[in-house]
Every structure is written in structure tokens, then in C-alpha cells.
Amino acid sequence: MKKELIDLKKKRISNSSSIRRATRMWSPLFLGPVIIAFTIGFVWPFLWGIWLSLCQFQTTSDAQFVGLGNYIRTFQDASFRYAFGYTALFAVVSLVLINVLAFAVAYALTQGIKGSNLYRTVFFMPNLIGGIVLGYIWSMIFDGVLSRWSTSILMETKYGFWGLIILMCWQQIGYMMIIYIAGLQNVPGEMLEAARIDGATRWQTLFKVTIPNVMPSITICMFLSLTNGFKLFDQNLALTAGQPFIIQPGGTSIKTTEMLALNIFNTFNMASATAKGTAQAKAVIFFILVAAMGLAQLGYTRKKEVQQ
């Protein structure tokens, strides 16, 4: 009996390995297109980008190795440091607001209220509209409101900041809500029942039973909104494009609502001889920052999967 089983297993293994061998012959067809496109669209530009961050160049053919000069220039660049601080502040404020509101909405929508599906549909809708279009819709609305005080969203940094926060809340709450609803629906009913029988109040149940159970969803949403905040570009460009700017004593200017991605983009378009190299160095630093957050998230979800 046991021997038969082993024989069967052996047969199985040889079977699947012969299939594997047959499949391997087709690798150019199965793997080829993706490998070629992936090399053109990612691997080569990525490696070349790292090399160019160590060069001074105006076009791609006149690149000259200059070592870490671009990185030093990046850290000396006041506009980059400003953009970093502004982006970090934006990411944290939007993270807190989006997650608190999205959780509240998701919690309300899982209480068995009539019309929950309709609300869910409406709240998710802004996610389908692109960042550029969103930016112009909201810039019209903010200017419509601010024109009563004869000012505009481009006139003050705080208008631009809170304007972008409102825009991002409007867009992202529906997205995070979907993830929270999925988490809330997985909270075991018996646990809620037990809490109720033990006489826990609604708030006690929420904080002691529900929230610990949806902790994985909360972590994912926090990571997502943090990286979304850091990578934000389209909305930033369309809403304020960095305006208003202040002139520094040295004659350089700082765009006061410019976030990191837009700062890198604008640096690429500047005329000076060192601009493109500096922009590429900024891009590498930006990549390390965003990748660290992304890998932390990936590691966290992996760990969770293992535990389950």
C-alpha cells in the first residue's frame, strides 16, 4: 500500500517534470514579450537613471561622470528641502483625515442601513476620475468660493494645502472605505455577540473588539495613503502647480505648494547645465524613500499571511 503510494508519487513527479520540460521549449513565446518590454520599460531606464544621477548632462549623449556632485547639490537645494517637508506634512495630515473618515463611513455602512449600496457607489465614484481632471474641477470650485473674498487658491500657501487635502479626501475616502468594509465584514459575529451579552457599550465594542480585528486593513490603508501622499503629482500640478512662490534672498524662488514629484519634474525642465543631473539624483532619493515604504508594506502583508 505504502509502496504503491510512493510509486504513484514518483510517477507524478516525473510526469510534471516532463510537462515542465515541454513548457520550457516555449519560453520565448510565453516569457519573451514581457521580458523585452520589461527591459525597455523598466530595467534599462532604471539602471541608466542610476548612472545618470552620477553624471552631468544636457542631452543623453553628452553625459559626463561627476560622482556625487548631484547628490550634494540636491541636499543644498532649498526648494527640494522645502518640498520634502511640505510633502511629509501633507502625507501625514491626509493619512489621518482620510483614514478616520473612511473608517467612520465604512463603519456606518456596515450597520445595515437602507441604501448602503447606493452610498457606497457614490463614495467610490471619484476614484475613477483622473488626477488632472480632478484638479481642474476643484480649482474651479475653490476659486468660485474664494472669489467672494476676491482672492484665489493660487494666492496663499494655506489655501493650496487645504485645497489639496480636501481634494484628496474626496478622492481617496471611497477607496479606503472599500478596504475597511471588507475588513469589517470579516469581524466574527460571535465576538460581537459575546461582547453585547457581557454588557459592553457600543464604544467599548468598537475599540476593544472591532478595531483590533480590522487592524490588518487599517495598516494597509495607512501605508497606501502614505505612499499615495508622497507620490502625488497630477492633482498637485493641476490644482496649483506649486503656486504661490516666494523669492529667496539669493534670487532663487521656492514654489510653496510644490510637492516632491513636481519638484523633480520641474528640475528636469530647468535650463542650467547641472539641472538634469540634479533632477535625476533627486529622483533616486525619491525612489529610495518611496521604495522603503512600499517594501515595509509588502513585508508586513507577507508576515500577516504567514501568521494566518
Partner: protein, 285 residues
């Protein structure tokens, strides 16, 4: 006692319903503002943004008419290019990455593991990192037309798609493919007539994520395409502001309305799949 508790519960639900209804109205307002202002004369858009377009302000269809040629570029051309790019890219990504993912999951050689690792890695790389070099590479290889840019999208978007497909293929029992092989199917036939039909749910999720990404993408096509010739809708709308000193806001809103109508129709018809697809992409990526 019981009755009292019940009425407290129903009162609580009433309050929640009202709050949600109010938020719902706030959510619809921006879209409503676009509709209102697309029928309003340009001079009133800034001063009377929230007024209904009656009386003096009524512009009829004039905003839509000016919008068609506004920005020195025909709007219908950008619609055409957006549709071409989105359909070609999504089809290419779905076909190529699902085949590659099946190969990676089943053969699982050292090289496959390397490709898979690079794909996962590419998901955390922001576009700014490769923005300049990618646009130069695409220029050199003449990938700067709507018919060739899907190759760029396949390259830069392969990561998430491969990640999602590999995850799904690993959950399919190997026995089905073994049975097909014993019945005399080659790898190609096994893939197309046995594996591909089973991939349908993931195909829909990945397809929706790619459609939403490509349709709304601004930066990649604006850097890769030759924008005097080819503009997608987001590029078109962004350049309305760039090309004019004072923008015709009425016409801009008319174009924005035209560009979000297909999106909303698409959303309302495949809402279930869209929400499921987006949730799948978020949790995994």
C-alpha cells in the same frame, strides 16, 4: 424595555442615514458643478460658480462647440487616441503578462524567480525615477506613437499584473493541467484552452486596474508621445491652461463633462467588478 431599545436603535439608524445622505450630496456636488458650469457663459463661471445657468448666464451648447476645437487641437482626436491607447495597452498587458505569469508559476526556475522578483520590485519604484530615461529610450525605439506606446505600458505596468496573475495561478491545482497533458495537449494548447478560461476573474480585476491607470495617466504619455501630433484626454485638458493666457472656463468644463461621462457610464455598468478589482489590487500591492 425591549420596545424602548428597539426605538433607540431605529433612531440611531435614522440619524446615521441622514448624515450619510448629507455626505452623499456633498460628494455629488463637484460633479454637479461641472454640469452646471458647462452650460454657463465663461464670464459667469468664476463669479457665479454655484448659480444655475439660467437667464443671462445660459450658454446653450456654445461651450461644447468651442470646446471641440479649443486649445488648438481637435478634442475628438484626443478621445480617439485615448481609446486606442487604452484598448491596445490593456489587451497587450492581459495577454502577455498572463502567459508569462503562468510560465513563471509552473516552471519556477531560477531565472523565473529572478523575473518575478524584479516585477515585485518594479511595483515600488515611482515613475519619476525612470521618467527621463524611459522617455529617451521610447524616443530612440520609436515607441512614441499611440500604436506603439502600449509596449511602454506593458513594460512599466508588467509588475502588478504579473504579481496578481502568479498569485492566482499558484492557487489552481496542477492536476487539471496534468490531465490535459496526458490527453495530449501541448503547453500552448494547455494554456489557451485550459488555463486561460480559469484566469477569467483575475483577468477582469487586472483589466480594470489597467484601464483605469492608462485612461487617466497623464505624465507617461505626455513625456513619451509627440504631443504636437498625439494628445490623450488628460494631456488635452492640461494643455488648455498652458496654451491660453486666460482660460475659457466654460469650454474647459464642457470638455471635462464630456470626458467624465464615459467613465461614469463604465463605472455604473461594471460597478461590482470595478470595486472588487480595485480592492484586490490594493490588498496585494
Amino acid at each position: 424595555m425591549n420596545k424602548k431599545a428597539l426605538s433607540a436603535e431605529s433612531r440611531r439608524k435614522m440619524v446615521l442615514s441622514v448624515v450619510l445622505a448629507v455626505i452623499c450630496v456633498i460628494y455629488v456636488l463637484p460633479v454637479a458643478a461641472v454640469v452646471i458650469n458647462s452650460f454657463k457663459l465663461n464670464t459667469f463661471v468664476k463669479t457665479d460658480t454655484f448659480a444655475l445657468p439660467f437667464g443671462d448666464m445660459w450658454a446653450g451648447m456654445s461651450n461644447f462647440v468651442t470646446g471641440m476645437t479649443f486649445g488648438n487641437y481637435p478634442f475628438l482626436d484626443s478621445v480617439k487616441y485615448s481609446v486606442i491607447i487604452t484598448i491596445l495597452s490593456t489587451a497587450l498587458i492581459l495577454l502577455c503578462t498572463s502567459m508569462a505569469a503562468w510560465y513563471i508559476a509552473r516552471v519556477n526556475s531560477a531565472f523565473c524567480k529572478l523575473v518575478y522578483f524584479l516585477c515585485v520590485f518594479s511595483m515600488v519604484v515611482p515613475f519619476q525615477m525612470v521618467m527621463y530615461t524611459l522617455s529617451k529610450t521610447a524616443d530612440t525605439l520609436r515607441l512614441n506613437t499611440p500604436w506603439t506606446i502600449p509596449i511602454v505600458y506593458l513594460g512599466f505596468g508588467a509588475g502588478l499584473a504579473i504579481f496578481m496573475f502568479v498569485g492566482f495561478v499558484k492557487s489552481i491545482p496542477l492536476e487539471i493541467e496534468e490531465a490535459a497533458a496526458i490527453d495530449g495537449c501541448g503547453p500552448l494548447r494547455t494554456y489557451f484552452s485550459v488555463v486561460l478560461p480559469m484566469l477569467k476573474p483575475t483577468m477582469i480585476s487586472v483589466g480594470i486596474l489597467e484601464i483605469m491607470w492608462v485612461w487617466n495617466d497623464y505624465l507617461l504619455p505626455s513625456l513619451v508621445l509627440n504631443i504636437t501630433k498625439y494628445r490623450t484626454i488628460p494631456i488635452h485638458i492640461q494643455y488648455l491652461k498652458g496654451s491660453y493666457g486666460t482660460v475659457d472656463l466654460g469650454a474647459t468644463m464642457a470638455l471635462i463633462l464630456l470626458s467624465i461621462i464615459p467613465v461614469i457610464v463604465f463605472y455604473l455598468t461594471c460597478q461590482k467588478h470595478i470595486i472588487a478589482g480595485v480592492a484586490a489590487g490594493a490588498v496585494k500591492g
